[in-house]
């Protein structure tokens, strides 16, 4: 059984007991416990079922690398699946549930899969579900989806808040073990601005557990003094519970701070995602112990040796009363000594090496522990927890020569430096043959913009596993980082000392000549249930690349990203392929180091501030008057204003009819308004518009088209010349920022010699379109300006005051009616709007929305950017040749429009379309042509670009692009429909309403 020891536990506070529940059962622990430690203290060794075979699993590690002990944590709006019990700090009232089991952890139906293991090999899905083909969609996929996934998704909106924080530092040190502390000390003393982050709640890492002495004192004492010195430095910031999640180009790093996971009812954000710009980064991320691949190495109670002594020393928890240790190195003997110190039994140490005689081995022997060399675990007894092991020859085929009763197994296959952060941004690794590990290759470090390294690995993360070397290496890294920052630093580190270790011996499978039956029980990737036999099968089937093998077997693809399985897996692959480990190489290390919550990634962006919604000066009025909104860029524009009991469709038709009959108001404030000013403004506009702008007289307006370099129509709008050297260019609502950027880019990169300024005045003005036969009457009532036909004719503009508000009035029309667009200072936009409504009350003034605007422009055959254009349409397609200058030497898009494809007479061109029965054509429908394509699809000869019911004409109207369309007036063609037979429509002029333009010109 596993249990709490009477004494000890450097991280727990026995005076602060905590209650928690696991799978509905009440348990107790202490402040300072992790959930994993507390579960073990309550004799809960099995805590989960595995993903594929639903095998019983317990915690195998004690930290972030844990693959097995994943739980559903919290309830309701605070439920979160797949939380690692080993990194979950215990708090009063914690509620957790086991995952991946039905109906219960102890009795699980899915465990049937384990019996089927023989027929569920690597690549099972790829091989099995190929036939019959139809079965995939209707049988296999639904069944697989049902059984896929780990944990269950939360159903309630997250109750917590999250945020980001940006920090700019000289040096980011990731990892608050003794190496990180040492590097921070050295750089901090040199005057660098340092941010030191540690993923757990405690400083010092595992040095205290491993019995390291620093400067002649126990590690704990040195850690305390180092921390005090760091805290006293103004230039050093320290954060616990903050994990270095990723390292990116240009010294950008992400760190994930968990603020209230350990105290959920504290005010403030739950997580904070740090976005750090660091000139230098030191990764002091330590090392992770490797499991040994022996049969049954996944039975609950089999743990990493380092984790076993973590539990004993840090939390006073004994994973078992009798622990057998199996190892290929000296470090695991520390676990034996820690267990003995805690009064626990170590029946045997199985050492795979032929000789074991280092100081730690001698110490264990001296305390009477039975050390068996050249021995392996060949069998683990017990199903839901260890009851004993069978032992045999390390190099044998797995014949047990002896059986030892035990309730825990501590295994160690050596240690792997945590190279993830080093590797995220391109740091390369070198295979250290003697110590059987990949470590950072300092000669191939991640480089910054100057080509110089900006990441330095320190301590165990750099392969300096021994205490003395680790400390010295950290001092070196801290000083090197300071030097890179231009600071003189003293690299001298504290002197750390621990027992010397004899060399380890790489052992990739145990026993060495195990047959297929045993290899099927040797787990490499616990979370995805990948075994030695799976990797070997992949190799036999021709998977040579480690990246392919990873995807075929799913090795390392679980949420732990193969932290425990990586090296063992590729060693097995290398062996199967008859090559070397460095030849096989590693898979790619990708951020984040451990999973981030979606909340932390989103930060503040949720609810009302999920994204910015731009508001016009009249937005409040629209909201107060029941406007139905539609998104236009980040604006929300009124689509229509339904009256009580009125459907949207009816509201739109009413708004069109009222505008055509009386007068309508449109909030056009969202239109882009760019001031283009300077002696060369005309010349510049001639280059960016397709038509001539320099000839425009001050006081006049001209409709203009803007094309991309490739000739495609990009934006349109009315340009008004304010003075000899100033123009206002109107853009589409959604295009304002893009067009502004487009103009600035050309000015800054190509035509920097032109004397032109562009100022985006979109937000400076509210703009109201006053439209309809009674528009002039309405505006004249406001007083202040002569807006008669004589004073202000069509396509002119004028400046003055209306209703006492400074106004610029543009006599332009997008509806075909008498129309004035009035720009007023934004701050007075609402007042002007209100004044118009009041002055026009008896004229029948009503606001209209974007849909009425669309219908009215379609009735007039005016094109709309985004409807008639889609990035592949040129002005000539739309019959806008008149707006494309033939006289100008150049303009953006001119050359492109002369390419053969652009002048091809077969291009589809704009026409109007009328159904024969007055119905409305489906939007986007294709015009059918004779015959089929090579792919057996129907040939097409055009498509619908805009289609509406016209309340003015009482019938459906549409515009479309049709091959030779303008030459085919009166011809009837058919349009495909999804919901019925093709619909015939007649090709007509796109101008359905007032073709002579009499109404707008009054």
């Amino acid at each position: 059984m596993s249990f709490r020891l009477e004494t000890g536990g450097r991280l727990i506070d026995r005076a602060a007991p905590l209650d928690f529940a696991f799978d509905g059962q009440d348990c107790t622990g202490f402040a300072g416990d992790t959930l994993a430690a507390a579960l073990l203290a309550n004799d809960r060794v099995m805590v989960a079922r595995s993903f594929k075979y639903h095998r019983p699993r317990g915690a195998v590690a004690a930290g972030a690398e844990e693959p097995n002990a994943l739980v559903g944590l919290g309830q309701g709006a605070r439920f979160e699946p797949n939380q690692r019990a080993t990194t979950t700090e215990l708090f009063q009232g914690l509620v957790a549930e086991s995952q991946n089991r039905f109906p219960s952890l102890a009795f699980d139906i899915g465990a049937l899969n384990a019996r089927l293991a023989r027929v569920l090999p690597a690549g099972f899905y790829y091989k099995t579900f190929l036939w019959p083909r139809a079965f995939w969609k209707h049988v296999y996929e639904p069944v697989i989806r049902q059984s896929a996934g780990l944990g269950r998704a939360p159903t309630d909106p997250d109750a917590d808040r999250y945020e980001h924080f940006h920090a700019h530092v000289d040096l980011l040190v990731v990892g608050g073990g003794v190496a990180g502390l040492q590097a921070a000390l050295v750089a901090g003393r040199a005057g660098a601005q340092v941010l030191l982050i540690e993923q757990t709640a405690h400083w010092g890492g595992r040095a205290p557990v491993d019995g390291v002495q620093i400067d002649g004192k126990p590690a704990d004492a040195w850690i305390k003094s180092a921390l005090q010195e760091l805290k006293d430095m103004d230039n050093v910031s320290l954060r616990t519970r903050t994990q270095g999640a990723g390292v990116y180009d240009h010294g950008y790093a992400l760190a994930h701070e968990r603020l209230t996971d350990h105290a959920p009812d504290t005010p403030g954000p739950r997580h904070r995602l740090w976005k750090i710009r660091a000139r230098q980064i030191v990764t002091a991320t330590g090392a992770i112990e490797r499991p040994l691949a022996f049969p049954g190495n996944d039975v609950p109670g089999v743990m990493l040796a380092g984790a076993v002594r973590d539990y004993v020393v840090n939390w006073a928890v004994a994973p078992g009363a009798r622990t057998v240790i199996v190892t290929n190195n000296d470090d695991a003997y520390r676990t034996a000594l820690a267990l003995l110190d805690a009064g626990l039994a170590v029946p045997a140490i199985l050492d795979a090496r032929a000789v074991a005689d280092g100081p730690l081995v001698q110490a264990a022997r001296a305390r009477g522990v039975r050390v068996l060399t050249d021995r392996a675990v060949v069998k683990v007894k017990g199903k839901t927890r260890v009851t004993g092991v069978g032992i045999g020859n390390a190099g044998g085929i797995g014949l047990p020569v002896e059986s030892i009763a035990c309730d825990a197994v501590a295994m160690s296959g050596g240690w792997s430096p945590v190279v993830h952060l080093w590797s995220h941004c391109g740091g390369k690794l070198v295979w250290d043959e003697a110590r059987a590990m990949f470590r950072p290759d300092a000669a191939r470090a991640p480089g910054g913009q100057d080509g110089q390294p900006f990441v330095l690995a320190a301590g165990a993360a750099n392969g300096a596993l021994a205490a003395g070397a680790c400390q010295a290496d950290a001092g070196r890294a801290g000083a090197a980082a300071a030097a890179a920052l231009g600071l003189a630093a003293n690299a001298k580190a504290a002197v750390a000392r621990a027992e010397d270790e004899a060399p380890m011996q790489p052992i990739w499978i145990m026993p060495g000549r195990a047959g297929p039956d045993l290899r099927m029980k040797m787990f490499l990737d616990y979370q995805n249930d990948v075994k030695v036999s799976d990797v070997q099968l992949a190799a036999r089937e021709g998977y040579e690349s480690v990246e392919h093998t990873k995807r075929y077997t799913t090795l390392g693809m679980a949420t732990d990203q193969g932290k425990l399985s990586n090296i063992n897996g590729l060693a097995v692959l290398a062996d199967s392929l008859g090559t070397t480990i460095p030849q096989v190489g590693t898979t790619t290390f990708r951020p984040p180091y451990t999973p981030l919550t979606m909340g932390a990634i989103a930060g503040e962006a949720r609810g009302e501030i999920f994204q910015p919604l731009r508001r016009t000066p009249m937005q409040d009025w629209h909201e107060d008057h029941n406007a139905a909104f539609e998104p236009v860029g980040q604006w929300r524009r009124p689509y229509c204003y339904p009256q009580p009991g009125e459907l949207r469709e009816a509201a739109v038709y009413r708004e069109v009819s009222n505008t055509r009959r009386n007068v309508g108001l449109l909030d056009a404030s969202t239109l882009g308004k760019l001031l283009v000013q300077g002696p060369d403004a005309g010349k510049f506009l001639d280059l960016v518009y397709t038509n001539m702008m320099s000839t425009l007289k001050p006081g006049r307006c001209r409709y203009g088209l803007m094309c991309s370099e490739n000739g495609f129509l990009m934006d349109d709008g009315v340009v008004a010349r304010l003075s000899e050297d100033a123009f206002v260019c109107h853009t589409t609502s959604g295009g304002a920022d893009h067009v502004h950027q487009h103009l600035e880019e050309w000015l800054q990169t190509e035509w920097w010699d032109l004397k032109v300024h562009v100022v985006n005045l979109t937000e400076q003005f509210a703009q109201v379109a006053v439209v309809g036969p009674k528009a002039r009457v309405l505006l004249e009532r406001l007083g202040g300006m002569d807006l008669s036909k004589e004073a202000l004719s069509f396509m002119w503009w004028s400046e003055g005051t209306l209703a006492g508000i400074p106004a610029r009035v543009f006599r332009i029309s997008f509806s075909g009616e008498l129309s004035f667009e009035v720009a007023v200072p934004a701050g007075q936009g609402r007042a002007f709007w209100d004044a118009c409504l009041a002055a026009g009350a008896d004229l029948g003034v009503m606001p209209y929305g974007t849909e009425a605007l669309h219908i009215m422009r379609a009735e007039k055959g005016f094109v709309m950017i985004g409807d008639e254009t889609d990035g592949t349409v040129i002005p000539q397609d739309l019959g806008l040749d008149w707006a494309v200058s033939k006289k100008k030497d150049d303009f953006i898009g001119k050359r492109a429009q002369q390419r053969p494809h652009m002048v091809d007479p077969e291009r589809w061109k704009l026409v109007g379309l009328e159904t024969l029965d007055g119905s409305v054509l489906p939007d986007g429908a294709y015009a059918l042509d004779k015959g089929q394509t090579a792919n057996g699809q129907r040939n097409t000869q055009g498509r619908v670009t805009s289609t509406y019911f016209s309340p003015t004409l009482g019938r459906g109207i549409a515009m479309g692009l049709v091959r030779h369309g303008p030459d085919r007036m009166g011809e009837v063609i058919e349009f495909a429909r999804l919901d019925g037979p093709p619909q015939p429509a007649r090709i007509v002029s796109p101008v359905f309403y007032d073709p002579e333009g009499e109404k707008q010109n009054v």
Binding site: R161, E163, H164, F165, H166, A167, H168, Q193, S237, T266, P267, G268, P269, R272, K275, R277, G603, E604, A605, E608, I609, Q611, P612, L613, R614, R615, T616, P617, Q634, W635, L675, Q677, G678, P679, K755, H757, V759, L761, T762, E763, Q764, F765, P825, A826, G827, Q828
Partner: protein, 185 residues
């Protein structure tokens, strides 16, 4: 959320209407600098800086753009004076007083509230009084300047004033002090 015992970590206020004039041109040109100084009462600031004298000042917006701040009622006169002084000079002056909203962020953790939302380096060392940054606040462009005593001003486009106000309020929620910058810095 607004537990009286755990106060907001900064105070957010939308400032009343502020006069603003955009000046585009060669900022170091003698005539332009002099014209700006005549209406703003301060010399042209260097890159990433702003200068104030009471209610008037100039902010550096880009290598060829400055923002002149002044009382709203003085804008028309200042525009006229600038235009007169800059006849024959390639420069653009235009009233943008209505285009923007102004916020003031004050209180012990004002700097941290801004650093939650802006990627600019807002540390006291890099962003002291007289510093100005055009940056972004979450998803929208803003300009921020430091006024000293832990107070900051921020301008954004008027259409996103509601969004910016809500962002700042969210970042200033109780319990959100980061403890990274010295309090009140």
């Amino acid at each position: 959320m607004s537990d009286p015992h755990t106060p907001m970590i900064a105070q957010i206020a939308q400032a009343p209407a502020q006069g603003m004039i955009t000046l585009r041109g060669a900022l170091s040109a003698r005539k332009i600098a002099a014209a700006a100084r005549a209406v703003a009462g301060v010399a042209m600031p260097g890159p990433l800086e702003c200068r104030f004298d009471g209610a008037r000042g100039i902010g550096w917006m880009s290598p060829d753009e400055a923002l002149i701040l002044l009382p709203r009622q003085d804008v028309a006169e200042a525009l006229a004076s600038l235009q007169k002084a800059l006849v024959g000079v390639h420069a653009t002056v235009v009233d943008v007083s209505d285009a923007r909203a102004v916020f003031r962020v004050t209180g012990p953790h004002a700097r941290e509230v801004l650093a939650k939302l802006s990627p600019a380096d807002l540390s006291p060392a890099a962003f002291g009084p007289g510093a100005m940054r055009r940056t972004r606040l979450a998803q929208v462009p803003v300009a921020i300047w430091a006024e000293g005593d832990g107070a900051f001003s921020l301008i954004c486009f008027r259409s996103v004033a509601v969004y910016v106000g809500a962002l700042l309020a969210e970042a200033a929620q109780p319990g959100g002090a980061v403890g990274y910058f010295p309090s009140g810095a």
